[in-house]
């Protein structure tokens, strides 16, 4: 059971979940490398940030540790839990909704001039 909900995920958190989707297990370094690859170099995650995210996800039950090599040089491996998948899906849906809203406004504005938009739909004046 998660101790507390993490609420809206930050970009780093979202990318960690994204990088772990469909993977049987990943260690921290692999996660960082996959994020770099997925983001095409535009998204990078610092090691301290990654460590914080993994700690929070472990605490929230979004990921689970599946192996640990003994000794000081150990690197834990993790996999996504059902809870983590659900969190990813929820965040994905939220981002899709944001994009859809943005698209709708953009398309609407493209069809009308600024003045026509303001006259025809007062709610769009604040956009």
């Amino acid at each position: 059971m998660p101790k507390k909900s993490l609420g809206t995920l930050t970009e780093s958190m979202f990318y960690v979940l994204l990088s772990m989707r469909g993977m049987s297990s990943l260690c921290g370094t692999e996660i960082a490398a996959r994020i770099g690859k997925i983001g095409g170099g535009a998204v990078e995650i610092g090691p301290a940030t990654l460590y914080t995210v993994l700690g929070k996800f472990r605490e929230a039950g979004y990921i689970e540790e599946i192996a640990e090599e003994p000794g000081f040089g150990r690197m834990r491996s993790y996999r996504l839990t059902d809870l983590g998948c659900a969190a990813y899906e929820k965040e994905y849906a939220r981002l899709r909704r944001c994009i859809a809203d943005a698209d709708a406004v953009w398309n609407h504005e493209m069809r009308y001039t600024d003045e026509a938009v303001k006259n025809s739909d007062p709610t769009l004046q604040t956009v």
């Binding site: 995650i45 940030t49 460590y51 690197m75």
Partner: protein
């Protein structure tokens, strides 16, 4: 590389930006922190090639009973794989570095201000926890000194200087605790504003000013470091000196051979025409001195023996007198209150005795600055304050059935001019 310089840090570890910049500047000057570079608040550098490094701080675990603290193995491996070398632990932080010229390939240690702030809130909580402990300690100290009997214990025990220095150390700890918490609070707020996109980006000039802040405070920090070391040293020395003085025989003299006129009465002064014989036990007839800065005169007399009256009857008994002259009347009054408080807590406290009309008249004739209390606390006790002087008298034996004789003799000596 070899050890080439030890420095007092010009900033505290929780002044994160300043500390990071200072370490970078030192590396640029060819001084690189050794592995585990902090010891006793000093930073140990090795001389090497001049190279610009980026130094970054991350939260480290505090040592506990079950854990050595420091950096988690996974945390260190993640950083090492990303190109960040662990230099050591400084306060609550693990200090990492990476070459400045590789900053294109090596990502920043922290890339998410929201998560960075969340992680540093732990340090802020620790700072708050430490602050609470120091506040509790300060409250207990104040309560003990002025509400309980600690001031009296200090006078009778380790000495006031030692206690006052301990007060300064607590105050210093309080100041550092507040500063620690406030620095972390400000830093977390700044990160949170950055995460919300509310932190305006700094101009180049502001950026430089922010980074160079360690230089403007360097002397202040170094002087305060030296002062704190001196304070702790003075505190340890004062305790040691008190211990040595207490153990020193020079401050203890036999009462039998004393020719000094004491400012209080002894057993032979209580009755007219009597002769006093000291008991055979030397250690029960002594004068001890415990002078202190705030208590210029502090004598303790132990007397034990027998009084023989002119009719040949003899009674035996003993007297212990503590004579204290402080630097102010208020201080003496405070000690009187603490003596009474201390004796009232004694399970053998027998309650106060009403003073006889003669004693009341005698006190009234002296003036307003005399207080007299008579009670039984294990032994019959008389407590007298006269201005800055305090006299605490215990007596025992079959010679004293009433405190009147003691009070009369003592007050007479106290108020008489004496050398």
């Amino acid at each position: 590389m070899k050890l080439s310089r030890i420095q007092i840090p010009p900033c505290r570890p929780y002044e994160i930006n300043a500390a990071e910049t200072w370490l970078s500047d030192m590396s640029e000057a060819g001084l690189h922190p050794e592995h585990d570079f902090i010891f006793a608040g000093l930073v140990f550098f090795e001389r090497g090639e001049r190279r610009r490094y980026r130094y970054r701080f991350d939260i480290a675990k505090r040592p506990t009973m079950f854990d050595d603290g420091g950096v988690d193995a996974e945390q260190q491996l993640l950083c090492a794989d990303a190109g960040w070398e662990l230099c050591g632990i400084w306060g609550d932080f693990a200090v990492y570095r990476s070459p400045q010229d590789a900053s294109d390939e090596i990502p920043e240690l922290h890339t998410d201000p929201a998560l960075h702030a969340a992680a540093y809130k732990k340090v802020r909580r620790r700072a708050f926890g430490s602050l609470i402990w120091i506040v509790v300690l300060a409250i207990v100290w104040v309560n003990m000194m002025f509400g309980g009997t600690a001031l009296l214990d200090a006078v009778l025990g380790v000495g006031l200087v030692s206690r006052l220095l301990s007060a300064l150390i607590i105050l210093w700890g309080l100041y550092l605790g507040v500063e620690h918490w406030f620095s972390m609070h400000t830093y977390c707020r700044r990160l949170q504003r950055q995460a919300r996109g509310q932190q305006p980006s700094l101009t180049e000039d502001e950026d430089i000013r922010e980074e160079r802040r360690w230089q403007s405070r360097a002397w202040h920090r170094r002087i305060s470091f030296v002062c704190s070391i001196l304070l702790i040293g003075a505190w340890l020395c004062s305790g040691f000196v008190s211990f040595i003085r207490a153990a020193d025989d020079k401050n203890t003299l036999p009462l039998a051979g004393n020719e000094e006129t004491l400012p209080f009465a002894l057993m032979q002064d209580l009755y007219e025409d009597c002769t006093f014989t000291y008991s055979a036990m030397d250690w029960t007839n002594e004068i001890r001195r415990h002078d202190d800065i705030l208590i210029p005169v502090h004598l303790q007399v132990l007397q034990n023996g027998s009084i023989t009256h002119p009719d040949g009857t003899a009674v035996s008994g003993g007297l212990t007198v503590r004579y204290i002259e402080t630097i102010s009347e208020e201080f003496t009054a405070l000690l009187v209150r603490q003596y009474r408080h201390s004796d009232e807590r004694d399970k053998h406290f027998g309650g106060y005795r009403d003073l006889s009309p003669e004693v009341v008249d005698r006190i009234a004739s002296v003036g307003d600055d005399m207080e007299v209390f008579a009670y039984t606390a294990r032994f019959p006790t008389v407590l007298i304050r006269h201005g800055k002087t305090l006299l605490y008298v215990n007596y025992y034996g079959d010679a004293y059935t009433s405190p009147d004789a003691v009070i009369f003799a003592m007050t007479e000596r106290l108020t008489a001019p004496h050398s």
